[in-house]
Symmetry: D2
Subunit: 306 residues, 4 copies
């Protein structure tokens, strides 16, 4: 075959094929490319455009649906960025880095462009089209993942307080951008809260939760009735959950059939979008399936001790 | 700042940041995800849907425009895949692998989805939307790059001959897919040519060049008149090209100002799509700027000997 | 400086610099190169040469001393291989993979060659000299690390039972290597035990523990009297250990000053070599400092939840 | 087998296995660890200890012999570092990075320690023993490799001129280290030459070539008589070398049988150590086999055009 003498070039792919470390959480973060220019061209409302945020959330939801029930356990979005946390037992594409990153970016982009007219009915999409870049990073523990999400949500708060004050100074205070920037230089959070309240009568606490907290997307396993799923095999010595154990400890004691039932429930669970605090423990303790549970299939790389 | 105690998580990114080797050609190949299903759902003409191929070519052209004049030197597309060859002196995103791959995939996807109605005016796009994955691989020499492209074009020929015969057996010969597959098992190229000719009166040579050769996309530097560009600085001992030198040797002798002029011309050059042989030398000898020339800015990693 | 125009070549190093994922255990395994030939040339006793194993253990101990108290938490050796487990909080050389691997291999090799005459006083070292290759792999959890060590120790048992029987058949049974190999083909553990006992009067259980279990090397923190160390700062609300907690849970509650005291004790602790079971829990429960405790300095990448 | 449930841990190795890009030169550089302290403890002569340099050269020569004739094409050493350039067609260990680096470091270390008494007969080796770390970096072109070597040799010159002057100020001028350092701050090459000449009567040009140029190690192919090798197959249309072609062009025209003859000659060629200029072209033009020739076996990744 004429082809064969050229086929050696495939061998070069080996040098750039990275497999992400097994038994770690994979976080894929996508970011809008040149969105500063894009938001200007398309006349986004400042400091927050609710249509644009809803479009981001819709595109993120599509990633959950396209990749299937067990892959993404939670996603967090703010401004023009979105982070997708993949389960530590995820083995999609053999955890090949380039394939995972490019696929998530492609799905997100496709739905963002396709759904644009739904969220911006009177604003035609202009060139250059909106695009996103992405990166995948591994995190070995739940603590690391929670700190990652806390980092993003704390960032959301800081940026939103700044932007809210900045645009109030411009839109209501009549300042130029340079003047507003200068005014805010060196100010602390309480200073910005004070500016908002005393000059513009804005109580920052009453701002939209979506603007202040960002958007949290996950499958609402807890809302699915148990009756909707049946185990597909007999129960072999099932362990009963006891309130005195931590979520992770309880999960380790679960039987295989119970895990399968949970996976079925998860696949049926609706993808929900909330604007809530994910820095404190409460969110996670009430939704242990998001990070603490291993679902659907055994984590073949978790080790015999689990 | 509340943020700081979480910021350590950024440090984990270092572990998955790969910089592609300098002074090598970067080839980014994108592939349609689950396109077998997608082409069925959207009723693509078999074996080749000219609307779909034109849409692929339009999306590829958008990648040239979005990334700017000097980044992509040539692209080659066939079926639902496209390969983009980046210049060896390319330093975009500091050659970070994930950023390069995700950006090219995102641009391609955005234009594919956005331009769909232009090429398929009577076929609404259904979910799951078309998406692509991507990979980046480095090739150190012109010979390797040409062999890569020859590999893809030889593949195009082999697959197209097979598909053309397969679908003729079904569409004109009334066979089922299984029967056609069985009929073709073990056949050589000449056997397929013979089946096409004797049973269906099809001379494969007369098939569309786009189907047989795939699509080659590049900036047609050669068509830009010299008068349209001026050097931006005085010529310091310019080297005269002589016919007896190879394209690469000639390029090495060029002065800095001449390189700048060439870069200007390239930026003005139209992006063209052709369906021609790129395995033989002729294509490359007539268009030395594609692989042989270093354009626009000095390749800072090429070495002092160049 | 004449140097500067060449210095760009340093930039290529970026492409092959890998930082191992933070907050994971790093296991560096070294293996003898061409040791089959080497053991023949140097007339090693078969199936096990006690001088050679003691030399391996001495070289492994030197790695502990050379790298300092907090880097290696445990090592395991069998035959011509040795695995070094680095603490998950280890930040040596910024966790650069090539630097870590090459350093451990170099130390091991240097001591192996240097100590040779001590262990083989009547066997001069011949060329080619004994050398080792190495690899570093990350493991995210204690379960993974314990399974890694169980894998190596189970391998040790399987190989040693085979080799003991194989060499008995040759040395005492008068077989050739081919005959012994054929005799053992398809046999189970109990068959080999039976061959050893019935034909040669060997009770495998009475074989040397070093041969059956391999060698476990660690710092015997438990043997250091508390009185030998003092905290270097006042205790800020120290948590008392309680028997009802797991080793890891207890560790998380420790105060910073207690951790510092423990690190001091560890640095004073003698490096010991034992030939014991590390597959069952007992070894680990009695020595929680090896894998469960974070010592010396805070793990800056462990997360705020720990 | 009890082993199997633990064997999953092998799969984690995939994440840290890097294959170096084919068809590029691999440069492995080793560096002495903490040699400042080591040279003090072992009373090295300053600024250059000829025994130590000869020992480095002997260890480097051992790397050539241990790895076999076709792997290393040239090595360059200065002070406590050595760079080994592997042929671009090298496929040793499938070009696995960790294996290549650790092996070279281990060989070098083993011979350095083993040969120590030969070069330092009256200085017993003390602990901590001398060890080395290593790194591998790919370079795609001959120009890059030559610039790498020029970088190291220019560095050698700069450092040696500084050290020679520094130690003259101390040893002959009676200065302390601090005084000498202060004296040299901001000086140019000509200033140091002047200090050496006017104060100490030292003409730097007359210093040892090994100190000024470092050490170049390679196989002296050119010294092997043609009569010592025979082609192992008939010549298929051998191309005659012509003086008007560049070394690389000539090489491309060579027949397979001629390449095999050259490989045989190379394997017979003595490893030589020279202290010569490798920045200028002359060294390379007279020894085209070092970088320009592909020897021994076809470079399977070089491409069909070569």
């Amino acid at each position: 075959m004429a082809n064969s003498k050229f086929e050696y070039v495939k061998h070069f792919e080996l040098s750039s094929t990275t497999h992400l470390l097994p038994n770690t959480y994979i976080i894929i973060r996508i970011d809008g490319r040149s969105f500063h220019r894009f938001t200007t061209t398309h006349a986004f409302t400042k400091p927050n455009d609710i249509r644009a945020l809803n479009l981001m959330n819709a595109a993120a939801t599509a990633v959950f649906h396209d990749l299937g029930g067990e892959v993404v356990s939670i996603a967090y979005g703010v401004s023009d960025e979105y982070s997708f946390i993949l389960r530590r037992e995820c083995n999609l594409f053999d955890r090949r880095e380039q394939k995972l990153v490019s696929t998530v970016v492609s799905i997100f982009t496709a739905y963002y462009v396709s759904l644009w007219p739904t969220y911006f009915p009177s604003t035609p999409l202009q060139r250059p089209l909106p695009t996103f870049d992405g990166r995948a990073v591994c995190y070995p523990t739940i603590e690391n993942v929670r700190d990652y999400l806390s980092w993003r949500q704390a960032d959301c708060h800081i940026n939103n307080l700044y932007n809210t004050t900045f645009w109030a100074l411009i839109q209501q205070g009549g300042m130029t951008a340079q003047e507003a920037e200068k005014e805010l230089m060196g100010t602390l959070s309480r200073d910005k809260n004070e500016i908002l309240y005393s000059r513009f009568g804005i109580n920052y606490n009453n701002e939209s939760e979506m603007f202040k907290k960002g958007s949290v997307v996950y499958r609402n396993y807890g809302a699915v009735p148990d009756s909707s799923v049946q185990a597909d095999d007999k129960d072999e010595g099932e362990v009963v959950e006891s309130a005195s154990k931590s979520p992770a400890e309880t999960q380790k004691g679960k039987s295989r059939s119970q895990q399968k039932r949970e996976a079925k429930k998860l696949a049926k669970a609706e993808v929900v979008i909330e604007h809530v605090d994910i820095i404190k423990d409460e969110f996670w303790e009430k939704r242990p399936w998001i990070l603490h549970w291993t679902l659907g299939r055994p984590n073949e790389y978790a080790g015999t001790g689990q």
